[in-house]
């Protein structure tokens, strides 16, 4: 068994809930625009409900609440544990370009920490827009309550920033998923789904990730050392 733990159960649950709620929020949020009826999605068997604003709004609220709770959990959990691997670092933009260039050209890429530099940037981009969406979403949720009125400018800007955020998040998620077009990145998928990645992969690509490297060394030493255990490993 050449695998080591890359993502804790807590991280995987957070990621799964975030991904599920964001996709559901995309669908139900887009459903707040008058499009599903016009574009006949409501005529597809099983999707008649998509044209009912009260249903899509209910689910939009529901997944919004999940996202807010999970997001807050994520921030506090990592702050308390002083885990900041995913926070962008100086030079990430340049290093991202070097990693992507290496993946395209097939040349050797620079060593990475637990996360690739473009992963850190991607995280920051998506996290920023999630925060924007949550804040504007909360303004919208409060103004829906009888007796609260923020005035026309606030309503107008909250609506339009929320709509802009929708497109920015789609862009972010598309970029996140597009990473798996590159074969080397696919090794990361089982890490987020089942928590474990190949120790050889860690040694090869994430040699600056101290904890991961140590665990990989332990695992590989039991299998006759890195050279022996990873001789068939292909990146």
């Amino acid at each position: 068994m050449k695998k080591i733990t890359r993502q804790s159960l807590s991280n995987r649950i957070v990621h799964a809930l975030t991904a599920t709620s964001i996709f559901a929020l995309f669908f139900t949020g887009f459903g707040q625009m008058p499009v599903y009826k016009r574009y006949m999605l409501t005529e597809v068997p099983g999707f008649a409900w998509a044209g009912d604003y009260s249903i899509t709004l209910w689910w939009h609220y529901f997944f919004g609440v999940i996202l807010i709770g999970v997001g807050m959990y994520h921030v506090v959990y990592h702050l308390m544990r002083k885990e900041f691997d995913i926070i962008p670092k100086r030079g990430d933009l340049k290093d991202s370009w070097l990693v992507i260039k290496a993946m395209i050209s097939g040349k050797e890429e620079p060593p990475s920490e637990k996360y690739l530099p473009e992963q850190r940037l991607g995280y920051a981009f998506i996290a920023f827009w999630i925060v924007v969406m949550v804040l504007t979403g909360i303004i919208k949720a409060i103004k829906n309550v009888n007796g609260y009125n923020f005035g026309p400018e606030v309503l107008f800007w909250a609506a339009h920033i929320h709509n802009l955020g929708f497109f920015m998040l789609i862009l972010g998620v598309a970029g996140h998923l597009a990473a798996f077009l590159f074969k080397p990145n696919r090794q990361l998928l089982p890490g987020m789904l089942w928590g474990k990645v190949c120790a050889c992969y860690v040694k090869f690509r994430h040699s600056l990730w101290e904890k991961g490297k140590n665990e990989a060394d332990k695992v590989l030493s039991k299998l006759g050392g890195e050279d022996e255990a990873c001789k068939d490993f292909k990146h």
Binding site: N146, G147, F156
Partner: protein, 326 residues
């Protein structure tokens, strides 16, 4: 309320609104119930101006808002991939329903052999679903509680009509912002409805329909006063009220000698008999739910969710630290 005290009230509202605009406090005032103006429509007084070709409230509304009626660019494109579009520009004189060119109309009904006339227009809800759910934030509420649509930014998706408990706003295609964006793909025109003559109310004046009503069947006054007047009148004629609870509460209260179940049934029957499926003839169902009734629950949930997230994180970190120590 006497005419004099009503005039005094509108004068006060005018001064207060002006001051609020100057101090940019309008948004706060919109939720100030003391500023709320409501209206009472007394169906025992309205005779639909039978002697005239057009009821006075309808002609007053048309006259006042003439300059704001849409002038669509033709030919109008259908709402792709659909083949239809909503165009009322060839029916500008139509007064038997709400259209982009007719923001109030009078239903003429026979109920149990009795004739009744019901002026209809936007109810100006306390918590309007149209305002809350417009995806572009183009619907606002004036300091006096009049709900209005900003025609400059309206995309004409007609969601406001779909979520309105009475389906009030009406759409005209071929006009508005959508023409400058992606006219074939999104948007559908501009939505129009009664704005409670918000400009007149802000100046301390009564809306046009009330000013011109020869029977004094339409009264605008502070909402508390309207509630009192409506209750007194309903008691006086042994009648019924509509609009205080319906749709979560509105700024319009109807008083009628005939139960609203029967009025609603008469509207529905007439529409059914004429196979009238076009929009703009609202029901008068006394069981009209508040489409925003869940909003406070969800707001609380949105505010509690982060607390739950913090608590869960703290518990989990504490547990994992304990586990690591062992």
């Amino acid at each position: 309320m006497t005419d004099q005290s009503r005039r005094q009230f509108f004068k006060r509202v005018g001064v207060a609104s002006g001051a609020l605009l100057l101090t940019n406090e309008g948004a706060r005032a919109a939720s100030d119930p003391r500023m709320r103006i409501g209206s009472l429509i007394d169906l025992s007084l309205c005779d639909g101006c039978k002697a005239d070709a057009i009821p006075a409230c309808v002609s007053a509304c048309k006259e006042k808002n003439q300059a704001r009626f849409p002038e669509p660019q033709k030919p109008i494109q259908p709402y792709w991939p659909r083949k239809q579009y909503e165009d009322w520009s060839n029916e500008r004189d139509r007064i038997d329903r709400l259209t982009p060119y007719n923001w109030t109309f009078v239903e003429h009904l026979q109920v149990d052999g009795q004739e009744i006339h019901v002026p209809r227009r936007c109810m100006h809800c306390d918590n309007p679903a149209c305002l809350n759910l417009c995806p572009f934030g183009t619907i606002g509420k004036s300091d006096t509680g009049a709900v209005y649509i900003d025609p400059e930014f309206c995309m004409g998706g007609a969601k406001c009509r779909d979520v309105c408990p009475w389906g009030i706003p009406q759409r005209q295609a071929g006009v508005g912002l959508y023409l400058k964006l992606a006219p074939k793909l999104g948007g559908g025109g501009t939505m129009y409805k009664c704005d409670g003559c918000a400009d007149l109310q802000a100046k301390g004046k009564e809306p046009a329909c009330a000013t011109k009503c020869p029977k004094n069947a339409i009264t605008f006054a502070p909402m508390d006063e309207i509630k009192r007047l409506a209750a007194d009148r309903a008691r006086e004629i042994n009648g019924y009220m509509y609009g205080l609870k319906e749709g979560g509460g509105t700024g319009t209260v109807y008083v009628s000698p005939i139960p609203f179940e029967k009025i609603n049934a008469a509207i529905m029957a007439q529409k059914n008999d004429n196979n009238d499926k076009r929009p703009g003839r609202p029901h008068m169902n006394p069981n009209t739910p508040d489409k925003m009734e869940d909003a406070s629950t969800w707001m609380m949930a949105s505010l509690i969710a982060p607390i739950a997230g913090v608590a869960a994180a703290a518990i989990n970190v504490y547990k994992s630290n304990k586990g690591e120590k062992k």
